[in-house]
């Protein structure tokens, strides 16, 4: 039975179904609107790519947001200079992020452990600080890089005259805002999932896991770890660039905050929260954090009063008072409490919780069995 579930087409079909049906199954959670769905898909790509580096090789990059930012800037520049078609933008985003990752990775990977983390952090913070200030001609600083009516857009303008307003990003005529934008991101996410799964289940992926497990042994086993880790770094940097360019595709603006350390820290937290080294864990972590950020922050007292309206008046007031600490301006508190609860009770993240559930339902016999999509076959 496990063999059956492990089959690639099955995993891929199940995953695609879950992703494409998000507008339906997220309805009861109040998360079925295009922007959040897009964010779910995009940050899942970001976290999944980050996990290729952190989950497989154990190298903890604390500056991955820099590649996200570079991807966004490159994509917006592609919209400004060439065309509103999203494909060139994505190609530019991924390529620039890849080059950037190659340069930073080449230098940073000369150190390991915390020294590596701080090197990546330093490069990302330098990028952020410069993008916010002296690089304003390229990045438009605090305001963020936006489209303007004066942009050259040479390819588009060669074929048609620009309209009065700002043009929209498109895929050969299909506007990339709203639901089409989500489905586009979702398809990209499914492709990324496929790629990630292949990497996880390849000798290359196994070698990376060897690096995480015992880097010393790798040397005496005849493996040059540096190009392997660099390859993982660049691949995950390109995932980040892809996520960044998708952010620009669904909403053509690129701000410097995307490169700040808090953004790098966020993807680290997403990955750990979901489950380091698992295939879908980082995606779940990304969804949880984005959900809290967008939905919990939107509750105000009116919403709460409405929510608790089934209670008698006195109780309702108490319930509203207590819960208002955790929503609206207090959504960060929920985030913090949740981080602690999960790491205390579910070491190994959300995926660990899933595994425990599964074990309980299969009567404890399942042992180490994992859900279909998360399997890293040990064959």
């Amino acid at each position: 039975m496990k063999q059956m579930l492990n089959r690639e087409p099955f995993a891929l079909a199940a995953f695609s179904l879950v992703i494409l049906l998000m507008p339906i199954w997220l309805t009861p959670f109040g998360a079925n609107y295009p922007d959040l769905l897009q964010k779910f898909a995009i940050f899942a790509i970001f976290a999944m790519g980050f996990n290729i580096l952190f989950g497989l090789t154990g190298y903890l990059s604390f500056g991955h947001a820099a590649f996200l930012g570079v991807g966004s800037y490159a994509a917006v520049w592609s919209f400004k200079l060439f065309t509103m078609n999203v494909l060139p933008a994505i190609v530019f985003g991924v390529a620039f992020a890849g080059i950037f990752a190659l340069a930073i990775g080449y230098v940073s990977l000369r150190r390991s452990g915390i020294y590596f983390s701080i090197l990546t952090l330093a490069f990302a913070q330098m990028s952020y600080n410069l993008a916010y200030s002296v690089l304003t001609p390229i990045t438009n600083g605090e305001t963020g890089l936006q489209l303007t009516l004066q942009d050259p857009r040479i390819i588009d303008n060669a074929f048609s005259t620009p309209g009065a307003g700002l043009p929209e990003t498109n895929l050969f005529g299909i506007d990339m805002s709203g639901y089409p934008g989500f489905y586009f991101c979702a398809v990209v996410l499914i492709i990324c999932f496929f790629i990630t799964r292949r990497i996880f289940n390849s000798p290359f992926g196994l070698t990376l896991r060897g690096v995480k497990s015992n880097q010393n042994r790798m040397g005496y086993t005849g493996i040059n770890t540096r190009p392997y880790t660099l390859a993982a770094f660049v691949i995950s940097g390109m995932f980040a660039g892809l996520a960044g360019s998708l952010l620009a595709v669904t909403d053509p603006l690129a701000g410097a905050e995307r490169m700040q350390w808090t953004a790098s820290g966020e993807v680290v937290l997403m990955t750990i929260l979901g489950g380091v080294g698992t295939l879908v864990g980082p995606m779940l972590g990304a969804w949880l954090i984005k959900y809290l950020e967008n939905i919990f922050s939107s509750f105000n007292e009116n919403t709460l009063e409405h929510f608790f309206s089934f209670l008698p008046e006195g109780l309702q007031a108490i319930a509203v008072d207590v819960s208002s600490l955790f929503v609206g301006e207090g959504w960060h508190l929920t985030l913090g409490v949740l981080f602690m609860l999960i790491v205390i009770f579910l070491p190994g993240g959300l995926m660990e919780g899933w595994r425990r559930l599964l074990r309980r339902f299969s009567g404890g016999g399942g042992g180490k069995s994992e859900p279909a999509v998360a399997v890293q076959p040990a064959e």
């Binding site: 196994l206 493996i223 190009p227």
Partner: protein, 253 residues
């Protein structure tokens, strides 16, 4: 230098701070032989192996493997030339399964120090998996192939490490106390295994305290004391050497 020498350690010096770990060490390991290095604790045996695999650079002197001078080689390059090593404390991939532990070195031998094929499928590597299972069977661990390596006993970890080396079919296998911490039964099995390998013609250097193991395996023995080789010869020559008895055997046994 002897004609059929696989490993030649030539005049190697190494000191740490003021302490001379190796001085004037000269050693020839001939093809197809098992060469044991014995000596009291702190004699510099492990340092000698570390020099051979590129973990430590000698202060002076050279290590020559199959005619190639290893002065500026990194450990992975030396391994790619055909040198594998079992460590005193097992160096394995503790959070991977036994099968994975053995497959990684197999890929390293087949694909070289680096190969970027992130999309090839592990599932399609039937030949390598088969060989890995066979090698695990050789060391008697095949029933546990899907277990995590961290869960093994110390003796089993050593055997796993041995399997990781064997699957690479090294030209030269360096063994640092391969039976330490094993039960008598396991020790005998390991000795038998090493004998089988010997029949295949693999050259080995072995550091060992257990004289039973040494004398049942070695073709040649070198005795290291205080960083110097004080005697070299066949097991019988060494047994009869008074200098050795004084420095080592006499004191220890």
């Amino acid at each position: 230098m002897v004609a059929n020498s696989v490993l030649h350690v030539a005049d190697v010096h190494k000191s740490f701070g003021g302490l001379k770990a190796l001085s004037d060490v000269d050693l020839n390991v001939e093809e197809g032989t098992t060469h044991a290095i014995i000596g009291p604790n702190g004699a510099g045996k492990s340092t000698l192996l570390n020099v051979c695999v590129g973990r430590i650079r000698p202060d002076s002197g050279h290590v020559v493997f199959n005619g190639e001078v290893l002065d500026n080689h990194t450990p992975f390059e030396i391994n790619q030339l055909g040198v594998s090593r079992v460590f005193q404390t097992p160096e394995i991939f503790s959070d991977l399964t036994l099968l994975d532990n053995v497959m990684i070195p197999a890929f390293a031998s087949r694909d070289g120090a680096f190969s970027l094929r992130p999309f090839s499928k592990l599932r399609h590597e039937a030949a390598i998996r088969e060989e890995a299972e066979k090698t695990l069977a050789d060391v008697g661990l095949e029933v546990m192939k899907d277990r995590e390596a961290a869960s093994l006993s110390r003796g089993d970890k050593r055997r796993l490490e041995l399997a990781m080396c064997l699957i690479q079919h090294p030209k030269l296998l360096l063994l640092d106390e391969p039976t330490a911490g094993m039960s008598r039964h396991d020790t005998n099995r390991t000795v038998d295994l090493l004998k089988t390998i010997k029949e295949r013609g693999m050259t080995k250097v072995i550091i060992e305290h257990d004289m039973h193991v040494v004398f049942s395996l070695a073709d040649k023995i070198s005795v290291l004391a205080q960083g110097r080789i004080i005697a070299s010869g066949t097991p019988d020559e060494i047994k009869g050497n008074p200098k050795v008895q004084e420095a080592y055997l006499g004191g220890a046994h």
